[in-house]
Symmetry: C2
Subunit: 392 residues, 2 copies
Amino acid sequence: MNEHIYLDSAASTPVADEVIDEMLPYMKQQYGNPSSIHKFGRETTRALQLARKRVAEMIGASPREITFTSGGTEADNLALRGTMMHTRRTAPEKTRIITSSIEHDAVLETCKDLEKMGFSVTYLPVTPEGMIRPIDLESTISGDVALVSIMYANNEVGTVQPVQELAKIAHNAGALFHTDAVQVAGKVPISVGSLGIDMMSISSHKINGPKGVGALYIKSGLHIDPVIHGGGQESSLRSGTENVPGIVGFGKACELAVKRMSQYTEYVIALRDYLIERVLKEIPHSRLNGSLKSRTPNNTHFTFFGVNGEDLIIKLDESGIAASTGSACSVKKQKPSHVLKAMGFSYEEITGSLRLSVGMQNTKEEINRTVDALAAIVQELRTLSPFKSKYA
Amino acid sequence: MNEHIYLDSAASTPVADEVIDEMLPYMKQQYGNPSSIHKFGRETTRALQLARKRVAEMIGASPREITFTSGGTEADNLALRGTMMHTRRTAPEKTRIITSSIEHDAVLETCKDLEKMGFSVTYLPVTPEGMIRPIDLESTISGDVALVSIMYANNEVGTVQPVQELAKIAHNAGALFHTDAVQVAGKVPISVGSLGIDMMSISSHKINGPKGVGALYIKSGLHIDPVIHGGGQESSLRSGTENVPGIVGFGKACELAVKRMSQYTEYVIALRDYLIERVLKEIPHSRLNGSLKSRTPNNTHFTFFGVNGEDLIIKLDESGIAASTGSACSVKKQKPSHVLKAMGFSYEEITGSLRLSVGMQNTKEEINRTVDALAAIVQELRTLSPFKSKYA
């Protein structure tokens, strides 16, 4: 049997060798607690400083604007809860959050919990391409809004949002702006300054760094409350002994991402577009979802009519190809995607959906094998489908 | 110059080679997101299952009673906040927490935040040896108490608490019992069942596992609220893509800890007692703090009268010896130890304190070199001290 083909880079990525090489000394030799004042502690403190600088540079921030967390989810939680808990004391009249209906669960579930605590949340609709329209934000925002949180790019369909414009609208109404940039940070050039945003969540394991690390960019001068309390690490914003090897690896992954960004973009976009082209040409009754123009470099998301996406994944897996129906985080819950629902998809359109996300490790030959397998599987499943007469 | 001597194992420990060996494949080859249903996802799901089993076995729990977190601090936060937020809905008359005045900041700062949210907290006093007296808990507990949280062993002075007895008193009054066992889990035999506790926080990097991982034991049948919301990982108790390599490493560290426990205890207690004996015999005006009998295997904590502990650490560091004044987490804050204050120490007794915590990597020869250096440094500092006539 052939080597497995991994087309789920939007869910997670392999850790780069250069990243592992930088992490290992911080497990075996430099294992001090950064809070200790002796040599072992100072070594790890220096390592954190370098990592913070590298992460900051990737997004055009200054190192002190970076707060390390255990991942993108915790960064989202910190941004939303931290802002609202701080606002409750400093501007109690601001009780509303505006977000979108296609956010990651890390934002949506935190919003739900904040609703239970008495805050109100407005969920913006999206276009059929999964785009948030600035006019929709403009028409609902008012002085009671503390925070607008809109993702930079959607994790399922890859649609990139007009973040800069949305941030401006938020600021004009006196609200803060947060974006979950987990799907794009390190993949496209990002400057928090030109975007004009206040907070941004990023993650390590989506860009060939280790799992279990992420960061929240918090604009200098902005104050939010911590979520995890304790020894006062990360300027008291995130307590707990720092995950030194993880943070070191994250820093290295960011440095590599910056160095390779143009190469990455060119390579991955070419693979993505080749995949899209072949699928749409060779597999009948297939459709690309999301925006063609405003899209993350690595995302493809299709609907294959008359087919069940989960059957597709299982069959692809049997053929040695790793794919996803959408967010890794919701696949096991077996509930229809809230993103596709918000985009107005019918049950059939949702059911037949498949995400194939590419990475640097993929080759054109792998894409060819994938499309060949996919075409055969789709055809096979359609002949078994109750919609056989319609699509097979 | 000689090799550095690391006597700060209570702050952090080196990652064992066997642990690193098990982690590496989950960075390079098995990098799937455990939430994915394809081969790569299934591989990491299986790895989490094995790790959960190993962690559970170390403390006599069942795997489903283990919730992985980003470390001991987050586990403490989850236990306290999760319990109180759940109780607020299910038993709103229970608004009080009882804890001790010598807890780790992860517990104390979370308590402070819960006080801001309207809960009340009672802080139990301790004896001069740092022991919580069951009678003190008994005399204050009543039906309004939702949770009693008392650490298994103190991180500064090493005093081991009468957890089993305290848990019984809590239960008799209808309260839950949580213990922060970060300093002992994996070092002494622990069975959550015989202890009769409801929740227990444990950490990986104190027992030769990686930083950035910990767990909360939650007794089967007990419900608490999550702190980090999102994709619903860890049975919805702790969202965020799992730190697979970290969790795998933690699992291996627990397996090793169980395997080596009697060897560890014997070796480390012998080193500890030898260190205590030599210090007390050879360094005048020195005193061991904490309990001699009820003490963690790896902890020594002294007061050297007429000396400043931070000067001691700096001089020891210059001699290649890594020591601590107490909690790594509070050293940089330069505030006097709340633990020693609660034990009734005078300013002078607090100032002159030093923690030396031993580990498997230390040797008797290192202890000899340490005591020799320490004796010389204490004498030197005393001749410079304003208390010269008193101690030098």
